[in-house]
Each structure stands twice: as structure tokens, then as C-alpha cells.
């Protein structure tokens, strides 16, 4: 099931929330676990077994690691950590990378190696990373052993973040898992966040994604310059509004059940450098790799050579995490290149740039980077980049600049593109926050990321009547519009099936 469906919003969600609040506290985690299994199994009834295997594996490994540590037997603890890591990566490799490895190896030795051709279970890259984090956290002493299988199952399968993140590391949620307190305050913030995330996904991402589909369907090497740039811009906004909208919905849904998930996006397109971009884009993935790969490898503290190696390893893995094919590896290395340049060569210079220059540079790098992300074949990547550079075949006159399709698409999607750009900059959210300074920084803005939990402490203040009314009207309108767009969901893709 996906959040952006009528089935989820109007059947699954009200039933789950209703049962959840009717249930006594000790039944709430088991209930969430059960609901999450139904949520996952809806589209993929069989693949639920893989998730249960991963859950069982780490539940046991966590127990054994905890016991070994308590007995002071570090080697045994390390063994069980290894079992968890090998087991989870084994699942991931089998179901996600087997075909890729078989094809690549086959090409290398010149013999066809049979590929198993397994379908990728949705969300496997998210939940294997989460279950692993538990065993690792227990080993590192960052979290206590979870003795209740149903509670642990609720953590792994928790439907709000199951299929598209954020990736919640166990120690971040351990407290909430057993001792959370649901509140009106938190639930209301959750509803707001849910509506905003839903609108980002359904109203902005799906619409602008349709524009990108029009461009993507053409020969990538034969586009007029403006069309090529328009296309990749449309994709950049599609994936940002889609992905961050999903995260907003996840965080909002978590709030509804009393959970506080980490933020996943912080206006990444206003980053002033690539280093900054990756602190703002898919934050929980970056954090996961930093915590469990980069730092254990020695991070930046083991000399420049090891530092460079660690960066390359992490970014190759980050690239491959996004999909099992060469273009994603290339995409990861592309970012490694800019990060290395920023860290080793221009560290000082970049910090002295005026912010607008940094923003322009970072956005340009990211925009070009989406090309090898979206096209899997070298031909498509090279062709599209050539079109962007003006070698799309139309020459350097007006014919090479734009054609009728360009003008038509710009006319059809220009307003949406401008609104998306404005929303992604974070400016409307800042305006609205200033407007309703007396109260929560939450509103009908098309893009609003952080609703910091600290910001929820507005208890004593009396909000003005007009801001409350405006917010209510805005939010209800957005929700109705999103519903209308879902009823006629002729274009409602799920972008993370390759993750």
C-alpha cells in the first residue's frame, strides 16, 4: 500500500487510528505491528516473509549480542553482529543485487551467468538497514536489548516509515517504542504534516513528474537546450517533492501514534555547497552511512589517504543503495568527486563565497547529477547531457534553443514550476512562520520541513483567531484538492521501487 492512495487515507488510516486509540496501551505496539504487516502485505503478500525473517534475525542477534556483552564475551558479541550484518546484506544482495552482479560478472568473464530475476521487495533497502542498526546499536551500547518481539516487530515494520523512510536508527526511537505518550498536540502536528506531505506528493510531484515523463519519452540526444533543462528541472522537483513529501507523511503519521521520527530533508535545493546538500538531502541515509560505515572505517581522522578511501567507499555504497546498476555507482562517485574537491581543495574558498554563488553552484551540480540518476544507459546519459550543453542537433540558433513542445510545456507547467521552486526554497514556510509568529510553525505552505518538536511548546500562548482560521481553511482546501487528484490518479508513480 502507498500513502498516496484513497485506500490508505480513507480506509486503512481511519481504521488503524481508531483501533489504536481504543486499544489499551499494552496492546498498542502489537496492534501497530499487525497493522503494518497488513499495510505491507497488501501489495506483496509473499514478500512479507523476507521482512519477518530479517526481523527475527535481528531480534535474536540483538538478544545474543546483549547477553554476550553482559557476560563480557566480546568475541561472541562480534560474531552475532557479523551474523546480523551478513544475514541482512545477504537478503539485500540476493533480492536487489543478484541480477546486477550476475550480469556484470558475466560481462567480465565473457560468459553468460544465469540471473535469478527476482522481483525487488518494496522497502527492503530501508528495513534491512533499520534492523541492522538495532544489533549494531546494542553492540555499541547505544541501545538496550528489546525483549519484546512484538515491540521490535512494530519498530521494523512500522508502516509510516516502512517503504520510503526516513531510516530510523533503533536508538533514536527506543525510548518512544516503549514509553511514548500520545498527545493532542503531537497528533495535531501530525495531521498538518500529513496533509502537507500529501499535497507535496500528489499536487506538486505527480503533476510536474508528468511533465518530465513527456520529455523523457523523447530521444535524449535530440532535445533543444531549453527543453532539456526544463525536463531535468521538472525531474529535480518531482523527486524532491515526492521523496520529501513521503517523509513528511511518514513523520506526520508517526506523530499521530506518538512517535517522533528524525527529519529527512531540510530544503536541500538551497544548499550552499555539495557538502551542505548532503546534510539536507535524505539526511537519515547519510547519517546511517556515516554512523555505521564511514566512522567505523576511521572517517577523516586516519590520514588523507584513508580519508579519501573512506569517502569513496561510502559514496559508492550510497550510489548503489539507490539502485542496482552502474549508473547509480557513477552517480555516487560523481558526488564523491565534488565532496573531495570541496574538502581537500576549496574548503576555505567555498566558505567565503557569497551564498547565492554557492547556491547556484550546488544546484547546478545536483541538477546535472540527476541525469545519470534517471537514465540507466550510457547512451541516454551522454545524449541528455549533450542536449543540455546545446549539442541536441538543433544547432545553436533558435531551433536548437526551443521548439513548439518546449513552449507548450513551459506554458502548461510554468506556473507549477515557479511554485515548486518557491516552495523548495523554504521562503513560504518562513513567511508563514513569521505571519503566525505566536504559534506553531506549521501551515498550509506547499513545503514545510522541520516542525521541530521543541516548537510544539506553545501551550500557554493564545493564538490569534485569524491565523487559526486561515490555517484551517488552507489545510482543508489542500486536503480536498489532494483527494481530487487521487480520485483521478492517472499518474501516481511510486519512485522508490529500485531503492
Amino acid at each position: 500500500m502507498v500513502f498516496s492512495s484513497l485506500l490508505f487515507l480513507y480506509v486503512f488510516l481511519p481504521l488503524t487510528v481508531g483501533l489504536y486509540y481504543l486499544a489499551p496501551r499494552r496492546f498498542r505496539n502489537p496492534l501497530l505491528f499487525l497493522a503494518s504487516l497488513v499495510f505491507y502485505a497488501w501489495g506483496e503478500p509473499v514478500y512479507i516473509l523476507i521482512m519477518v525473517v530479517s526481523t527475527l534475525l535481528d531480534f535474536c542477534c540483538g538478544l545474543l549480542v546483549g547477553r554476550s556483552r553482559a557476560l563480557g564475551r566480546d568475541r561472541a558479541a562480534r560474531l552475532f553482529v557479523a551474523v546480523s550484518v551478513v544475514g541482512n546484506l545477504g537478503l539485500l544482495v540476493t533480492f536487489k543485487y543478484a541480477d546486477f552482479l550476475a550480469h556484470s560478472l558475466g560481462d567480465l568473464i565473457g560468459l553468460p551467468i544465469p540471473a535469478p530475476g527476482l522481483a525487488l521487495p518494496i522497502g527492503i533497502s530501508f528495513y534491512t538497514f533499520q534492523t541492522m542498526s538495532y544489533t549494531l546499536d546494542v553492540y555499541r551500547g547505544d541501545a538496550r536489548v528489546q525483549g519484546n518481539f512484538l515491540s521490535f516487530g512494530a519498530y521494523v515494520a512500522l508502516f509510516p516509515q516502512l517503504i520510503a523512510g526516513p531510516i530510523v536508527r533503533y536508538h533514536e526511537i527506543a525510548e518512544d517504542l516503549d514509553h511514548r505518550r500520545e498527545s493532542m498536540e503531537l497528533a495535531a502536528a501530525g495531521v498538518r504534516r500529513l496533509v502537507i506531505g500529501l499535497s507535496k506528493k500528489v499536487l506538486v510531484a505527480n503533476s510536474i513528474g508528468y511533465a518530465w515523463d513527456q520529455v523523457k519519452a523523447l530521444d535524449p540526444g535530440g532535445l533543444p537546450v531549453l527543453l532539456a533543462w526544463f525536463g531535468i528541472l521538472a525531474f529535480a522537483f518531482q523527486i524532491y517533492f515526492d521523496f520529501s513529501g513521503y517523509s513528511d507523511m511518514a513523520i506526520g503519521l508517526g506523530n499521530l501514534f506518538g512517535f517522533r521520527f528524525p527529519e529527512n530533508f531540510r530544503y536541500p535545493y538551497s544548499a550552499t555547497s555539495i557538502t551542505d546538500f548532503w546534510r539536507r538531502w535524505h539526511i537519515t541515509l547519510g547519517t546511517w552511512f556515516r554512523e555505521y560505515v564511514y566512522i567505523p572505517l576511521g572517517g577523516s581522522r586516519a590520514g588523507p589517504v584513508r580519508h579519501l578511501r573512506n569517502l569513496l567507499v561510502v559514496w559508492m555504497l550510497t550510489g548503489l543503495w539507490h539502485g542496482a546498476s552502474w549508473n547509480f555507482l557513477f552517480w555516487g562517485l560523481y558526488y564523491a568527486l565534488f565532496l573531495v574537491i570541496e574538502k581537500f581543495l576549496f574548503r576555505e574558498a567555498i566558505s567565503r563565497w557569497p551564498p547565492f554563488l554557492g547556491r547556484a553552484y550546488a544546484f547546478l551540480v545536483v541538477l546535472v547529477g540527476w541525469v545519470p540518476f534517471e537514465f540507466t544507459a550510457v547512451r541516454g546519459i551522454a545524449g541528455y547531457l549533450a542536449s543540455m550543453a546545446g549539442f541536441g542537433g538543433g544547432g545553436f540558433g533558435r531551433a536548437g534553443l526551443w521548439d513548439d513542445r518546449t513552449r507548450y510545456l513551459l506554458g502548461s507547467f510554468g506556473v507549477l514550476l515557479a511554485l515548486a521552486a518557491l516552495g523548495a526554497s523554504g521562503t513560504p514556510a518562513r513567511w508563514l512562520r513569521r505571519l503566525a509568529a505566536s504559534r506553531l510553525p506549521s501551515d498550509g505552505a506547499p513545503s514545510l520541513h522541520p516542525v521541530p518538536v521543541a516548537g510544539l511548546k506553545t501551550g500557554g500562548m493564545a493564538p490569534g483567531f485569524l491565523p487559526v482560521l486561515a490555517e484551517a481553511v488552507g489545510l482543508v482546501l489542500l486536503f480536498l484538492l489532494a483527494t481530487a487528484f487521487l480520485v483521478d490518479a492517472s499518474y501516481n508513480p511510486f519512485l522508490y521501487f529500485r531503492f
Binding site: 500500500m1 480513507y10 509473499v46 495535531a188 507548450y408 502548461s412 484551517a472 489545510l475 483527494t483
Partner: protein, 397 residues
Amino acid sequence: MFRHAAAVFVALVLSLLAVLNVLQADRSFSEHENRYLQEFPAFSLERLVSGTFGREFDQYIQDQFPFRDRWIALKTLAERAAGRRDNGRIYFGRDGFLLVMDPESDPDRLARNSEALRQLLATLMTRHPGLSASILLVPTAPEVRPDLLPPHAPVPSPEFVAESVRSLLGCETPGAVGPGSCSVVDLLSALRTAAAGPDAPSLYYRTDHHWTTAGAFEAYRAWARAAGIQPSERDDFEIRPVSDRFFGTTWSSAHVLSLPPDRIDAWTAPWQDGLEIRVQDGPWGPGSLYHPEFLGKKDQYAYFLGGNQASVDIRTGAGTGRTLLLIRDSYANSVVPFLVRHFDRLLVLDPRHLNVPVDRYLDGLPDFEPTDFLFLARASSFGRNSEFGRLAGGAGS
């Protein structure tokens, strides 16, 4: 509580719709969208495990959502307000015209369809030397009237299909296909000429992809000129509206709130009476080219010839000594009333609905001796639909 008015209102709206969704009765057919809606899916363990039940249930909720048509209209409204000039299926054209967005043709498919057509023609000309064959590839409204499209709307080249077929068939070269004459009529130019000028009639419906009776008449005249037949004049007909509440297929895909309906005209003449008609395997009997019973239904265009029958055999009192084999799609249904004047017998076949290829079907009619052949179908369909491979048994898909 007041501080959370926004969240409370959203929750109320959501709950209300969720409850309505459960309470309201299911519909099985959407008149508006002209399609069957998903009803509560059948349950079995097998369907559950395979995921079929889940997918159908998802569709069920989507199709049966309360006020479905009005939500979709709201979406269209919002999209158009934001500057969209199409909805992915339909261009919102000038003067209230809803125009189909035709995808590019598929050159492979077009080549295979043309080959099937060429084989059928070759077979027919061998059997019936002297056959006079015409091919009418029907352009769509935006091809005839590009001025109706939103500015800069990208459309496939309107000449592409007809010109490809012309060169693939090679039938302008005498004897190339067989012992007979054959021509691919330049229908696009003929219709463009007819549509030009301030007093020109509307050749296409605004809310349907078909041509109007006036459009069908112009196509008939273009065919007659090419076939060397003296065509009827406009004054030969009594023209009267039979429906002024026609909302066609493009209207169903467009979901616009307010748009005036189309009018359907019938052009009648005495020679259209007293016909003997046989539909598919039914008996011969007196029949009509017009089917008023469809005027009360959604698909009012089926008023002409009763829709897309696989085979309609017509005997007239024309006394011209000529017999027509008409291979067609629905565009021909409103042309047939003009054609009946010139033939003693017309066999009208739809290759998409026959259960055997056209040449095999004709093998079963040894006493059928056509003197004329007409292929009439929408050009863009011929450029990409596999069903036209069924023109000849050995060719196509």
C-alpha cells in the same frame, strides 16, 4: 482544541468521507467515463496471496469513491487554473473543442498494417480483376483544424500515416498491386479545404472524436471524386437534428464542468429507405441505417449503423450494377448513408471485430463479387493498432 482547528477539520472531512464511502451503494458503470467500474472484488485465499485481491480492492475504493465525477471535475478545474492545456488524454482546445491527444505512430506497426492491406488488395484484385479501390485514412479534428489546438501543442505530423501508406502500397503505379485501380485519397486536404472559410460547417464534434455528418459528407465527396463517381449534392438531403444532447468520448475523458453538448444531424434522402440489411449472421430483413434507440444512451454516435458491427450486409434498390466492399472503423458508420446511393450491395466489415482475418472471411462468401473496394479508418489508429494486421491472414501480427 481551538488551536488545532486545522487538524480537527481535516480529521472531520476525512471521517465523513470514509463513512460515506462505506454507506453509499456501489455503481457498476460510469456513464460519465463510459466504462465499467470495479466492484467489490471476489475473495479467495489464492487471490489474496497473489495480491490480486489487494490490487482490485485498491481500484474498488478508487472507482467507488463518493462523488467521484465531481472530484475529477475539481481536479480538471485546478489543473486548468494552473495553466494546463491538456489532461494527458485531451487537449482543451479553442471554441470548446475537446481534442484527442494522439501519440506518434509506430513505424513498424504501420509497415505491418500496410503490408496486410496490400496483401488483401492483391488477393481481391486477383479474384476480381478491374476492382476499383480507394483508401481513406481519416484525419482527426486537430489535424484538419490545427487552429483549434492550444498554442504550440505538439502533435504528430498529420500527413505521416497517409504518405507512408501511399508509398508502402505503391498503388498509384498501375498494376503494382494487381489488375485494378487503387488510390490513397488525400482526405486531409479535402477536409481542410471544406473547413476553411467563415461559413464552413463544423466537420467534427466538439465532445467526441468522430466527425459530424457534415464531415462525413465531405469525406464521401472526396472519395467520389477519386473513384470517378458523380457525388450527391447537399441539396439532395433533408437535414434535421436528431439529438441536441450529445456528450461524446472526448467529453468523457475531459471531465469539464460546463460545456454545451453537441448536436447530431441526420442527412436523409429517399434512396436510404427500403433497404434489406443483414447484421452479422442474422437473417436478411428490412432495415435502416439509423438506430434512434441509441440517442437515449451514452454512445449516441451508434445512431449511425448501430455501432461497430463486425459485419453489415446491405442490399439497396440503386440499380447501378456495382457492389462495394467496405472495410472500416466507426468513422465510416456515418458515411454509409451517403454511399448506399451508388451500390446495389454493400458489405461493411470491421476487421477489429471479425473473428477471422478479412481475406478468410471473404473465402466464406464465394458469391460475393465486389466491383469497388473502400478502406476507411482513422489514420492514427492505422498507424499504431495491431488490429489492422487482421486485414489479411498471412500478414501483420
